[in-house]
Amino acid sequence: MQKSTSTPLPAGYYATKNTEPVDADLRSHFQTVIGSLLYLMLGTRPDIAFAVTHLSRHAANPSQDHLNKALYICHYLIGTSTYSLVYNGGSGAGLIACTDSDWGSDPTSRLSQTGFYLKLADGLISWTSCVQKTIAYLSTEAEYMALSDCAHQVTWIRSLLGELSYKLKAILICGDNQGSIFMASNPVTEPCSKHINICYHGIRESVVKGNVELFFIDGAENPADLLTKNLPHEKFMKFRAQLGLHFPSGSI
């Protein structure tokens, strides 16, 4: 039996671009592995979302190191293959969303990372980990864009549940950045934020209409952190337990 690893990728690992010419065999092997991992990630494994999307960006020209890291994720899965998302009907827990971002995390493009999830009945129902499309000058801006993306998702879920005749109160979105929450709740234009693309201001409308309510949580207690970077073991375990991923027996 192969040894398993305790996190999807080593803490702080960052995949750098491969400058060697394309190796066709390596590439097709890498793409096969990543393709399978993507399916798992989309289906039931939010815990590997960051790791998989992070590596998949190198699918066009992977290096041997990228492939090794993809297999590292597989080793992680071996140790946790019995984990599944559990929805706890008795919890009575309503819809709640969490967002986080990692500012300027890409060392070459300086783009930031968005991570957010939606949780219902104590289990995740939707999760996203992606690189932002535009450069954020401030971490507040990166968080603001993450909040806004999350609000889009929340709006869609609202309209879906609305069609099923559920009338929802404001949905709570948690973030760990006061500045972005302030910006989303108040139509301020400040020198440092006036350049933000208009499409990200959709969140303000959601707040005004009462569709969402923003809530501040401590950065060290934000499980969405798991969707924005490779965390060290203890932190990863702590946040993973909050996603609703459990052993079949129900024990965490």
Binding site: G43, S126, L160, S165
Partner: protein, 180 residues
Amino acid sequence: MKSDGCKKAHLVAKGFSQVEGLDFDQVFSPVVCFETVCLMLALATLENWYITGLDVRSAYLYGKLNEEIYMEQPEGFAVPGQEHKVLHLWRALYGLKQAGLAWWHTLDESLKELRFEHLKSEAGIFFYKKKGTNIVIGIIYIDDALFCGPNKAVVDAIKVQFMCKWECRDLGEPSEFLQM
């Protein structure tokens, strides 16, 4: 090739030879996204709903075609004496570009007869609502379907009606959906 060693063969159309605008128009097919499946399952546990599953046998073959499509006779199965003729397709075949969409339209129509409406925000979710009875929600991923609702009898009655329309495999209370 199946796990028990028996071999399965299947007639497919050469979708790659189809010409856009002539043989097909739109090729998208509305399927339910994974997120919605998770959402509905979470909702079902919160509301303590009954869930039952089924899968439609060779679903694509039911799709009604809007386009006029002809196919060469399959090799080795040509009608003797009429080898020069081609086949005119009335229904979709696996491999046709529009097969998924054609099936969805056919399914949508038949579910309308059962008083289901697909949601505007998610075309793979079908909602049954009638005054004086409980709701039923259908989650349909091409040919895999889950029906859920608060009242077991109502859900089962709907399922029976659905299974009269299509040849289905009853999966009972599901332990997995889309291999998850």
